[in-house]
């Protein structure tokens, strides 16, 4: 199939994590991923969402752009503020999110462009048994 692009925008509040997880799982499944990989994508998207919420604040919208292919899914989250307010809570939480995202995704980047940044991650189907 040709790459399909899906966009999702939700308020930056924890109660929307379930909606993000369900959409992510549905799209990951369309990429031909195993249940292990689908679960990784759910986990990754929740972490990315929490990371975004920490940067954007409670009421700011968080936008996800999914590019879904036969054997991979690429996700871009943002735009987000390039840095948080320096609160140590936020810093520790974001370091933790990075640890998880680097472990469960095939690629993970936090791209900064001036005052904004984007979380970019990729998960490949068939990379694990």
């Amino acid at each position: 199939m040709a790459v399909e692009r899906i966009e999702l925008t939700v308020p930056g509040r924890a109660e929307y994590a379930r909606a993000v997880r369900i959409i992510a799982a549905t799209l990951a499944s369309r990429s031909g991923m195993s249940i292990d990989e689908v679960d990784d994508v759910r986990m990754a998207l929740e972490e990315a969402f929490l990371l975004a919420c920490a940067r954007i604040g409670a009421d700011g919208p968080v936008t996800f752009r999914f590019d879904v292919d036969d054997d991979r899914i690429d996700v871009c989250v943002g735009p987000l503020p390039a840095s948080g307010d320096g609160d140590r809570d936020e810093e520790a939480g974001q370091r933790y999110s990075r640890f998880i995202l680097e472990a469960v995704c095939d690629t993970f980047q936090l791209d900064t462009d001036g005052p904004t940044c984007f979380v970019r991650l990729t998960k490949l189907a068939g990379a694990v048994s």
């Binding site: 997880r21 369900i22 249940i35 520790a92 472990a103």
Partner: protein, 266 residues
């Protein structure tokens, strides 16, 4: 022989009950030979502290501690009634899994009943079984459409079942299976100073405090997934649990770790 048994009421009231093995054996012999309820009551009293200890391990899960002690006491009574002295195991060794089992059952029944419709409970169990069966048959982790076809449901229903297992957040109860202390795995022993996890926190003490909130089995799952890079299916095979149990354990473990690391850092 039951002659050595002396009812509590006829002993000095100032004498404290002790965990005396000989006395315990006498009590059990007497109770099993005669069915004397006084002996049974004394055994219950003797081991009530074990129930309290085990019940406290399940605190902070939304149930009053008195209720948990009551549930645990039912487990204790079952253990007393079923204890076979011929097996030559200590009663505490025999009773602990029975009491813990009763507590887990209480949470399992109540947890599902409160939060998840029966249709979804059943679907979640069926998905769990389907994942195991398909993994066994195909020697790989199944895809969602394969699970859907196997169960004759839609892919959306399978994904809904995955979410349902998230709601059922009592996974740490499953991880208490090594409550006798046979599993002493500690992830800290495997984490070097230059490890990525150490990069999250300011010092090892913070990390150590956060990890102490996890059981040995939760730490083992965390280690296998994030340090050894094992898949959920591989971990499930190694620990002899289901893939969905691994998934739930990971989710719970990450949540606890996040809460504790972030809180400690503030």
């Amino acid at each position: 022989m039951t002659g050595a048994y002396v009812p509590r009421s006829r002993r000095s009231t100032s004498r404290k009950l002790t965990w005396d093995k000989k006395h315990t054996r006498e009590l059990f012999r007497h109770y099993q030979a005669t069915g004397d309820q006084a002996a049974r009551d004394e055994l219950i009293t003797m081991y009530l502290n074990l129930v309290k200890y085990l019940a406290h391990r399940f605190r902070n899960r939304g149930e009053p501690i008195d209720d948990l002690i009551q549930v645990g006491t039912i487990g204790l009574i079952k253990a007393i009634d079923r204890f076979d002295m011929g097996r030559e195991v200590e009663f505490t060794t025999y009773a602990t899994p029975t009491i813990v089992g009763e507590l887990k059952r209480h949470f399992r029944d109540k947890g599902w009943a409160l939060k998840v419709p029966r249709r979804l409970q059943e679907l979640s169990f069926r998905v769990n079984q389907a994942v195991d069966a398909l993994t066994q048959r195909n020697q790989r982790s199944p895809k969602i459409p394969e699970i859907a076809v196997y169960l004759d449901v839609t892919t959306e229903e399978v994904i809904e079942a995955m979410e349902t297992s998230e709601v059922y957040n009592l996974v740490s109860l499953d991880s208490d299976r090594n409550s006798d202390g046979s599993d002493s795995f500690s992830i800290l022993e495997y984490i070097g100073e230059d490890d990525k996890l150490m990069g999250i926190v300011d010092d090892r003490t913070t990390l150590s405090a956060a990890l102490k909130q996890l059981t040995p089995q939760e730490q083992r799952v965390l280690y296998l997934r994030f340090f050894e890079g094992r898949t959920q299916t591989e971990i499930a095979r190694q620990l002899d649990i289901s893939q969905m149990q691994v998934s739930r354990l990971l989710r719970k473990t990450l949540r606890v770790l996040r809460e504790n690391i972030v809180r400690e850092e503030v």
